[in-house]
């Protein structure tokens, strides 16, 4: 068996199996997170939300799935057919490709590459293509306007996300996501949001707490969530870039969007809130079986993802939509300078602070 798993074919089978496992986990979680999103939204507005399919409407997402898949795909006349169908596929694929480097638990990662953070950043910067291509290929005004808005918005907020990520990289000294998580071991006061250096690093919390807030808000903008859902602002553009989409292509856009949201939640917890680390010291894990310890970490990670998803849903429910110039002002005139100053401060702390050279 040893030789089979180390042979190229065995490696292919093993990797494909891991990818499939992660994929199934994300898709299943998405089905229920999507329902949770609608339920939370409904709860804030004192409605019941979906409550017909299954107990408490728990199977609503599956019903929706089958409905989407069984409907007819309509391609508008004059649309660029190839690009039109390629766009949702790109959105969908990229949203899941990013998960390849996400450390789900100690040792549970499909590909533990050295430049994991950069890979995530690169993949999320590609996400804009699905939207632009979809908007352009529809050969229609509203989708096109939506996609142009989206392109400008996503490119703008990527800049501040990039600088916020740099502060985290400076604190941990690694681009590897698993190393970043391991660096935050030992309780919540070791998490990057509180400076990442235990009690000695606490002064950096003054910089890192605002950075995590900026990252959260930029993540909202990057995933086109309310209050930054201008690309699909339904009161202005009907549904923006997805107006002309129906059936399965629309479903792919939708799943891609939610997969990206969950990815951003996971990224926030990995970068700032310790990923799979429990908020208290866990020396007892050394006596556990490795699988049990990994599962323990995975539960914490999942809980953090759900918590941030809850925040995403609450923001959607209670914050009114930004105007376009306000959105751009926030990104370029407030977040960008703030995060650049933070990079300088964190770099200075690493060089002159108590943990210098570590």
């Amino acid at each position: 068996m040893e030789t089979f798993w180390s042979s190229p074919v065995g490696w292919l089978v093993l990797t494909a199996g891991q990818i499939l496992a992660v994929l199934v986990w994300i898709l299943l979680s998405l089905a229920f997170l999507l329902l949770a999103d609608r339920k939370i939204w409904a709860g804030v507005q004192m409605r019941k939300g979906p409550n017909v399919v299954g107990p408490f409407g728990a199977l609503q997402s599956f019903a929706d799935f089958f409905k989407f898949v069984l409907k007819e795909i309509i391609i508008p006349a004059g649309a660029d057919k190839t690009v039109f169908l390629l766009a949702p596929l790109i959105s969908f694929t990229l949203a899941f490709a990013a998960w390849a480097v996400m450390p789900l638990a100690p040792g549970w990662v499909v590909s533990n590459i050295n430049v994991g953070v950069l890979y995530l950043f690169a993949i999320s910067s590609l996400g804009v293509y699905g939207i632009i291509m979809g908007g352009w290929a529809s050969n229609s005004k509203y989708p096109f306007l939506g996609s142009l808005r989206s392109a400008a918005q996503m490119v703008s907020y990527e800049v501040s996300i990039g600088f916020v990520i740099i502060t985290v990289i400076l604190l941990t000294g690694s681009l590897n996501l698993a190393t970043i998580v391991e660096h935050q071991a030992g309780g919540f006061w070791h998490w990057n949001v509180l400076g990442g250096g235990g009690l000695k690093g606490l002064p950096m919390a003054l910089v890192m707490i605002p950075m995590s807030v900026i990252f959260f808000i930029s993540a909202l903008a990057e995933t086109n969530r309310p209050p930054f859902d201008l690309p699909e602002a339904e009161s202005e553009l009907v549904a923006g870039y997805q107006v002309e989409y129906s059936s399965t292509p629309y479903l792919l856009f939708m799943i891609g969007e939610y997969a990206n949201i969950v990815l951003m939640c996971a990224l926030i917890s990995v970068l700032f809130f310790g990923g799979w680390q429990a908020p208290f010291p866990t020396p007892f894990l050394a006596h556990w079986a490795p699988t049990a310890a990994s599962f323990f970490g995975f539960l914490w990670f999942f809980a953090k993802i759900i918590f941030f998803f809850f925040l995403f849903a609450m923001v959607k429910a209670i914050v009114p939509r930004y105007r376009y110039d306000q959105l751009m002002r926030l990104g370029w005139k407030i977040f960008l300078p703030t995060s650049i100053v933070a990079v300088v401060l964190v770099a200075a702390w690493r060089v002159f602070g108590p943990g210098a050279g570590a």
Partner: protein, 205 residues
């Protein structure tokens, strides 16, 4: 390693095909999309060579930012394909000349590097030897040996950026703009006047 060979040939074939398609595609938007494909597979080739940092930078900078702007502009332009193709024959000699010069230069550079070894002449940028990731290797080189050149490159970009802003900035007079500070500073005292009205008389502004 057969897997790497397969990956290399697949990526190389896609790169070359996409590169050709950039030139031959009828629709300029398709050209840009093929250009993105070419960038992306070139990044894949970088990964195969062990230069994962450069690969990610290629994707982040070129695909994620530069090509988005390309696409943006090309989509907004109303390009007439027929006239675009008429110019093809006229520009062919000049374009061919430039392409030929570039090809010769690249072949020369590649052969000389192959003869002398990539790192000959300078003092060991060193292939990542396991002890050092190539992010670290590039960082050390950029911020020690080449720090002034690196900073100068940054300054050039800054000047270019400021130049672009200066050239396009236009202060239009007579445009009402939102002043957030003024809005936030507004209080009930200065912004509102309470008038007590005797009924049946109306208000005199």
């Amino acid at each position: 390693m057969p897997l790497q060979a397969i990956a290399f040939y697949a990526l190389a074939a896609v790169t070359v095909f996409a590169g050709l398609a950039v030139v031959f595609a009828r629709n300029p938007v398709h050209s840009v999309l093929f250009l993105i494909t070419a960038f992306f597979s070139a990044a894949g080739l970088f990964v195969l060579m062990g230069a994962e940092f450069l690969a990610m930078m290629l994707v982040v900078v070129y695909v994620g930012a530069v090509a988005v702007l390309f696409l943006f502009v090309v989509m907004m332009l109303d390009v007439d394909f027929a006239t675009l193709r008429q110019g093809f024959a006229r520009y062919l000699p000049l374009g061919g000349l430039v392409a030929a010069v570039l090809t010769v230069e690249m072949v020369l550079a590649a052969t000389s590097v192959a003869h002398r070894g990539a790192a000959s002449g300078s003092t060991a940028p060193a292939a990542p030897n396991g002890a050092m990731t190539n992010v670290e290797a590039i960082g050390r080189l950029l911020y020690t040996q080449y720090v002034y050149v690196f900073q100068a490159a940054g300054l050039v970009l800054l000047v270019a950026m400021i130049g672009a802003i200066v050239l396009t900035l236009k202060h239009r007079s007579g445009v009402k703009r939102q002043s957030v500070a003024a809005q936030m500073a507004r209080t009930a005292k200065g912004g509102m006047k309470l008038v007590s009205i005797t009924s049946g008389e109306g208000v005199d502004a």
